[in-house]
Structure formats: C-alpha cells, structure tokens
C-alpha cells in the first residue's frame, strides 16, 4: 500500500499553551536546583538525590563540580545542559521576540545547539583536542539554552487545523 503524502493537519492545542510552557520552565528549574542541592543536603537525602540523577548522568567525580568537597548531582556537561535549559526556557517564556526567532529558525537553533556539543565530544574521543571543564559545561549550556528557548516557542505556538492541507491548498 503506497504511503500517504504528509499533510499539515495537526490537532488544535488541547490545553492552554501558557500553562504547559510554565510547567516546562518550572520543571527545568526544579531539575537544575535539585542537581545543585547535594552540598546543602543531609548525607542520606543527598545520596537519594545522587541516585535519582544517576539514571541520566555518569556523575564521574573528575568530571563533576564540587562544593565543599561534595559533588553535585550532574557532571559538567549535564549541568550545563540543564542550567542552559532552565535559563533558555525562562527567557523564551518572558520574551516574545525570542520565541518568534526560535520558532521561525527552528532548524538553525537545533543545528547550532548540536554542533558545539558534538564537536567537543568527538574531538576529545578521537584524541585531537581534549575537552575541558569549561568546554563541557559551555557546550552543554549552549545546547540547553537554544533548545530551551525553542521548546517554549514550540509549546506556546497555537496550532490550528488546515482543512485543505491534504489537497495541498493553504
């Protein structure tokens, strides 16, 4: 059976876009603040938080920031990603111009987010340029910042149905 051509039909937004976007920003800040919290937590709770983040991060001691000799719950790169995500999503929520720019140039945002991260990781793996704390955190932050802004732009963009999409008409 031949596959159907893509259509432009998508369901209208079922929930208030603002509420969804605010939830995403809140989740991003919750994640980054929880990841930063181990140095101020009781040792047992600290370990529970560390264990929770162990599912998404290797937490290698030599690749993790320490505060008062206590490691944070995410490595340099992952902390950069989540910190960037929280800031980028926050900026995206507050700035309409950022949302518009992100939405219109979505492909560019994604490529620009991925390239520094991929280069930093690949050049280190092949042994050309070893990555550093700053490069890991920085490239992670760029990734999170750009995709955080794009995420909010996407969530706050109202969707409407084009009844003529299947015919190619707009």
């Amino acid at each position: 059976m031949p596959s159907l051509p893509p259509t432009s039909i998508d369901p209208p937004a079922a929930h208030a876009p603002v509420a969804t976007a605010v939830s995403a920003v809140a989740a991003a800040w919750f994640a980054v603040l929880t990841a930063l919290s181990p140095p101020v937590l009781d040792p047992g709770i600290r370990l529970a938080v560390m264990n929770a983040f162990a599912t998404v991060c290797h937490q290698m001691p030599d690749r993790t920031f320490h505060v008062d000799a206590v490691p944070l719950a995410l490595c340099h790169r992952c902390l950069g990603v989540f910190a960037g995500l929280a800031v980028g999503a926050g900026v995206g929520l507050l700035s309409r111009a950022t949302r518009e720019r992100a939405y219109v140039h979505a492909g560019g945002f994604i490529v620009a987010a991925l390239i520094p991260l991929a280069l930093d990781w690949t050049l280190d793996v092949v042994g050309l340029i070893p990555n550093t704390t700053a490069s890991r955190f920085g490239t992670g932050a760029v990734f999170g910042l750009l995709l955080g802004a794009l995420l909010i732009a996407a969530l706050r963009t109202k969707t409407r149905v084009n009844p003529y999409a299947a015919t190619g008409l707009q």
């Binding site: 596959s3 051509p5 893509p6 259509t7 432009s8 039909i9 998508d10 369901p11 937004a13 876009p17 603002v18 995403a24 989740a27 919750f30 994640a31 009781d42 040792p43 047992g44 709770i45 600290r46 370990l47 529970a48 938080v49 264990n51 929770a52 983040f53 599912t55 998404v56 290797h58 937490q59 290698m60 000799a69 206590v70 490691p71 490595c75 790169r77 992952c78 990603v81 989540f82 995500l85 309409r96 949302r99 518009e100 939405y103 219109v104 979505a106 492909g107 994604i110 995709l147 995420l151 732009a153 996407a154 969530l155 706050r156 963009t157 109202k158 969707t159 409407r160 999409a165 707009q170």
Partner: protein, 173 residues
C-alpha cells in the same frame, strides 16, 4: 488526526529497555558505558516516538506536539524502567538493597566523609532504600526524563515530521 498512543507506548518501552540496559554497567561503576548513558534513553524515546508517528501515519508533526509526545514517552519510559529495575532486583539480576547500601557506604568513604557522617548517612540511606527513596528517585527521574524527552521530540519533529504546521508564519500570542 491519528492517535499517538501506539507510538508513545512503543517509544516508552524502548526508552525503558535502553535505560535498564545502560544501567547495568553504570551500576557496576563502568565509566565508559556510564558516559554514553548520559540522557541517551530519553533522547532516543523522543526521537523514536516522532519518527514512528510520522512514518506510520504519513503526517507532519509540529514542534509543540513533538515535544509533548517526547516528554510523555520519556516520562513513561522512566517509570517503566524503574519498575523493570525493581523486578530485576527481585530476581537478583540487579544488586540487592543490602548490596546497594554497601556500595553507598563505599561511595561515602570515597567522598572523604568521617565515621560519624557515614553512620548518620547510613541511617538515611537505609530509609531512602525503602519506598520513600524509590518514590523520590522516580519523581526526579520522571521530571528529568520528560525534559530531555521533550528536547528529543523537538528534534525528531523537525527531522522526521517537518516540524511545521499552518501557524509557522505566525508564532502565537
């Protein structure tokens, strides 16, 4: 518009399985696989759900829907992975609670804690090795996975679904 349930379930199952597979070496302290494991299951889930949805039904997918499907998929995958790990622990494939507690003691020693801090910590570790700790870990895991899954869904919607809809020229409100 086709219901995305089938794609989400398929993506969640794969997310859970990849998460559990990558948790094996990470739990035994292998830094190489642990490094690769970073966020990978959630991103795979987000990419997979958008790919399966657009490919199966021949529709385009806007970025917002891609992000939502990715977030739901990864969140369900996080819960599924946690349940799977509990089952594997019950059949002794994963370390038991007692073994994990001992591993935590070793981690505290590596962190340079004093005996008093370790004793105090171990009381909390034993508490958090129970239901309370499991729930806390799952809640944090779901939030973190949902965020990363949303990013995977965004990328997937752009790559596989065109990332476009009829509002592309007039971004909201």
């Amino acid at each position: 518009m086709p219901n995305p349930r089938q794609s989400i379930i398929m993506g969640a199952v794969v997310t859970a399985l990849v998460g559990v597979l990558l948790a094996f070496p990470a739990q035994s302290g292998n830094p190489v696989f642990g490094f690769v494991a970073c966020c990978l299951p959630a991103i795979i889930g987000g990419l997979l759900v958008t790919w399966h949805y657009t490919n199966t039904y021949g529709v385009s997918l806007n970025l917002g829907s891609g992000a939502k499907y990715g977030a739901i998929t990864a969140a369900l995958g996080a819960v599924g992975g946690a349940v799977l790990q509990l089952l594997l622990t019950a059949v002794n494939v994963f370390p038991s609670t007692a073994e994990r507690i001992e591993m935590q003691r070793e981690r505290m020693l590596e962190q340079g804690m004093t005996e008093a801090q370790i004793d105090q910590g171990m009381q909390m570790v034993e508490f958090f090795s129970g239901a309370g700790g499991q729930v806390l870990s799952i809640v944090i895991g779901v939030v973190v996975f949902a965020l990363i899954g949303a990013l995977g869904g965004l990328i997937g919607a752009k790559a596989f679904g065109g990332g476009k809809d009829t509002t592309a020229a007039s971004p909201e409100i």
